[in-house]
């Protein structure tokens, strides 16, 4: 079984998901088997304003462990990550980062900030 450990920079309690990548998809948003797909399919929310279509950066996660176990980053994902606040060398978009290794041990952090998150500032 693969294991995905999710830490939240805002202080929410850590979550751990054990899953069989062969059973993806677990939900209907994001690439099948992606971090987003796994989280949503196990009842853990990760923002994905564009519906998991690789058109925004609201599912930005920072991979703390297992970066090389994830599927390759596409040019489209790289283009979007360029615009993500708090970009790190191990940043990925949750909707695109696929876990297909059944023995993967992945640790990700959900950053405190995402770009253009809705707030009252959207009204004037």
């Amino acid at each position: 079984m693969a294991r995905l450990r999710i830490q939240f920079e805002n202080g929410d309690p850590e979550k751990v998901i054990e899953f069989d990548p062969g059973k993806a998809p677990f939900h209907h948003d994001g690439k099948p088997g992606s971090i987003l797909d796994v989280m949503l399919g196990h009842g853990i929310h990760l923002e994905h304003a564009c519906g998991g279509n690789c058109a925004c950066t609201t599912c930005h996660v920072i991979v703390k462990q297992g970066f090389n176990k994830l599927g390759e980053t596409s040019e489209q994902e790289e283009d979007l990550l360029d615009r993500a606040p708090g970009l790190t060398p191990t940043s990925r978009l949750g909707c695109q980062a696929v876990i297909d290794d059944p023995n993967a041990e992945i640790v990700v952090v959900v950053p405190r900030y995402t770009i253009n998150q809705v707030s009252e500032a959207a009204e004037e």
């Binding site: 994905h48 304003a49 405190r112 900030y113 253009n116 998150q117 009252e120």
Partner: protein
Amino acid sequence: MSLDAPTPAAKRSTLNARVEKIFDHASDTRSLFLSLTSGKHLRFVAGQFISITIPLVDETRSRPYSIASDPENRGPFEICFNRVEGGRGVQWLFERHVGDTLDFSGPFGTFTIDQAPETELGFIAEGTAIAPIRPMLKRALASSSTQKIHLIYAAPDREHILYAADLDALERSAPNFSFETLIAPADKIYDRLFETAQARWVDADTDRTRHFYICGVGKGVIRLRDVLRGAGYERRSVHYEQW
């Protein structure tokens, strides 16, 4: 509004909007004009989208819809969409009536123009993907009255060339703006866009200073991106949004 201004990601709050007007562009293509029930104005950047909460029988989904109106317009803002097979979110939107309300979050997205680059600009869109391009185009035209701006807009038939009168009026009023429409069968649209973009912006000259804004559905968008970048345009000069 700064695109880089960070705000907390922990909890998504939603805004509430009322349907003020419905306009059918075609039998399968509709615009909703929305106003915030708070009475305030939605602040966004040309090209951004909102994420609408779709309450289905068995679950709640959020689905993105580009804003087709101008940020400077103080009236209702507009979203534009078309029916897609199996599209439960869009089906729900088609069932909304004037006076109904809906929840959304946003605006989101970095496929935007606030201040246009001071170079020739090329826009490419197909079908309802003209929605974000329309305000971006107007924003670019507002930024400069001299730089050349060209739009290539494709659809399967004339009925699905949206905002044609609006684009005609823009072309008449702005000497630096031109646009062309491509009518092609749905499965050939991107072939035609590819051929036209290649002829106009790759084969015609060696100028590689232009910036491009491409919006559409499917892998054809990536193909357009690749032909332009492959021809020598800077990676960050080729902006695109693929749905």
